[in-house]
Subunit: 197 residues, 2 copies
């Protein structure tokens, strides 16, 4: 148990340092700052990653390529997901053009399994329905994750493969899905403020 607590302390110090540097360098999404600072202020938790949910449009060399990915558009704001902001046709240089909608996603280190479980339950109760335990040793990390997502190709070999009309509709769906996910994230945030950690 002492080893687990030492791992927790060491990792929390490292995570806080990394977070402070990222804030100083404007490398974090401002939307999540209050929630991350709330969590980091609790004795028994710290965050290692945080995303309020986002829509990205990327081009890549192959369907499952993790590398050589160009970000063409990225936004955490449901109000920005419109064809006026993104444009049509979308210019891209690599083989594949994809749109991804990802729900809110946080990784939170916890001091022990009981604290981890409390956090997962709070997230599930807030509607962030894919929240689970990412790691249980040596460090304990939970993943807070929503359910609303989309993943689809938009074009191939420099040409759009979907119509402007279709892209408009898909962005409208993405916008309302992201908005709903962020309402759930706000509910989670509110629950956390009430909790006596």
């Amino acid at each position: 148990m002492i080893i687990v607590e030492n791992i927790f302390k060491t990792r929390k110090i490292a995570a806080l340092k990394k977070w402070t540097n990222a804030v100083d360098e404007n490398k974090v999404d401002i939307e999540v700052i209050p929630l991350v600072e709330l969590i980091n202020g609790f004795d028994h938790y710290y965050t290692t990653s945080s995303c309020a949910g986002r829509l990205t449009i990327i081009s890549k060399s192959a369907v499952r390529s993790k590398y050589h990915t160009d970000f063409i558009f990225k936004s955490h704001n449901p109000n920005e997901l419109s064809i006026e902001k993104i444009g049509y046709p979308i210019e891209f240089k690599q083989k594949e053009l994809w749109m991804l909608l990802e729900p809110p996603n946080f990784h939170i280190g916890a001091k022990n399994l009981d604290y981890a479980e409390t956090m997962v339950k709070l997230a599930l109760n807030s509607g962030l329905g894919k929240s689970k335990f990412q790691s249980i040793s040596p460090g304990i990390v939970v993943e807070i994750l929503g359910t609303g997502h989309m993943s689809l190709p938009l074009g191939f070999d420099g040409e759009m493969a979907v119509s402007k009309e279709y892209l408009k509709k898909v962005l409208k769906i993405a916008s309302s899905m992201l908005e709903e996910e962020q309402i759930r994230l706000a509910r989670f945030h509110e629950q956390l403020t009430k909790f006596n950690f």
Copy 2:
């Protein structure tokens, strides 16, 4: 610890009974039978759900409706994901027509956290990269989950919103993605046969 072991035993007996009934009633996917029976044969594990990965085409009354969903097409077989099998245009009665590609997904009860961790690590090492711990108390359950997925609307209000050409390409991507995921699942299966549980 005795309580945890009793919960495990009770749940395993119930899960095996449910599984046997489902097999008798032809309600399980034949692709996963050998893997499920291998896992259920281990003293320290049992499965509660199993899917080899699948493509579904569904129609539903609203984007996020969980209910009133019609299954128009469902297949676990990468070779069946073609426009010849599915047809174009696709007829549907509800407001939204969606295509979902889901990776292999198993839920496995484990006798204790160490056994749970062994199973998650085997899955991660086999490339089933979203495998995590679903529940750590009172029952311990891990989720084995791949990474390859797609989720996109195909039509609205009875009309297709994508071209035949686009659907062909998306199905080709889905087929190769599912095939790759099932290779990872086979790797996981092979690892399990070698393991001395």
